[in-house]
């Protein structure tokens, strides 16, 4: 399995500001995903981060609010823009391989918006 790190591990932010979360993998992976877990809820897929092209967003998530970059096969960023208290969640990146059976998760970034 891949070793996945996320930065920051947690942050407290003011409403109206933006935060960029980094996800680094110790090996090349074909697939990278971003999820959100709101308090008391399940994990929800935000988008698939595509290397060298625009991310593929799920229904209810838009690029202006959650811009994503993936410059190479080991790194991706998720920005939470113009934050409100409703954005307070744990944000997780995950990785997998096309044709692979498993998906592995990073430790998550706990975001609190005041």
């Amino acid at each position: 399995s891949a070793v996945i790190s996320q930065k920051p591990s947690r942050d407290i932010c003011q409403r109206g500001t933006s935060l960029t979360i980094q996800c680094q993998v110790d090996s090349q992976v074909t697939m990278m995903f971003w999820y959100r877990q709101q308090p008391g809820q399940s994990l929800t897929l935000i988008a698939t981060a595509n290397q060298g092209s625009e991310a593929t967003y799920e229904s209810g998530f838009v690029i202006d609010k959650f811009p994503i970059s993936r410059p190479n096969l080991t790194f991706s960023t998720l920005t939470v823009s113009n934050m409100s208290p409703e954005d307070s969640s744990i944000y997780l990146c995950s990785v997998g391989h096309r044709g692979g059976s498993e998906q592995f998760f990073g430790p998550g970034t706990r975001l609190t918006v005041l």
Binding site: M31, S42, G100, E102, G106
Partner: protein, 114 residues
């Protein structure tokens, strides 16, 4: 509209006994299912998966059963150990789990009593 449902928010089991966690799904397009274990302040850890062409998959103390006609799967842990105390998430995909975003249930908090 929740496509993956875990109807038991919590489950308490005595150490050494069998733990059975249940999951139901509604989307007929799902054909790959995964179970994850999550400790507080950590990302989900992959446990075991099953393809819809099988009805059982076993890995050590963990066995997953799939009843496709009932759209139901279950995770059996035998024997249960104190380190098994965690939140367990059921997840589903319409392709191999590593290549596609996952749809998660809300989780079941398993408590192993000494």
């Amino acid at each position: 509209d929740q496509q993956v449902k875990q109807n038991s928010p919590s489950l308490s089991v005595q150490e050494g006994r069998i733990s059975i966690l249940n999951c139901d799904y509604t989307n007929s397009m799902f054909d790959y299912f995964l179970w994850y274990k999550k400790y507080p302040a950590e990302g989900p850890t992959f446990l075991i998966s099953i393809s819809s062409i099988k009805d059982k998959n076993e890995d050590g103390r963990f066995t997953v059963f799939l009843n496709k006609s009932a759209k139901h799967l279950s995770l059996h842990i035998v024997p249960s150990q104190p380190g098994d105390s965690a939140v367990y998430f059921c997840a589903a995909s319409s392709s191999r789990g590593g290549a596609d975003g996952l749809t998660f249930g809300k989780g079941t908090h398993l408590i192993i009593q000494p």
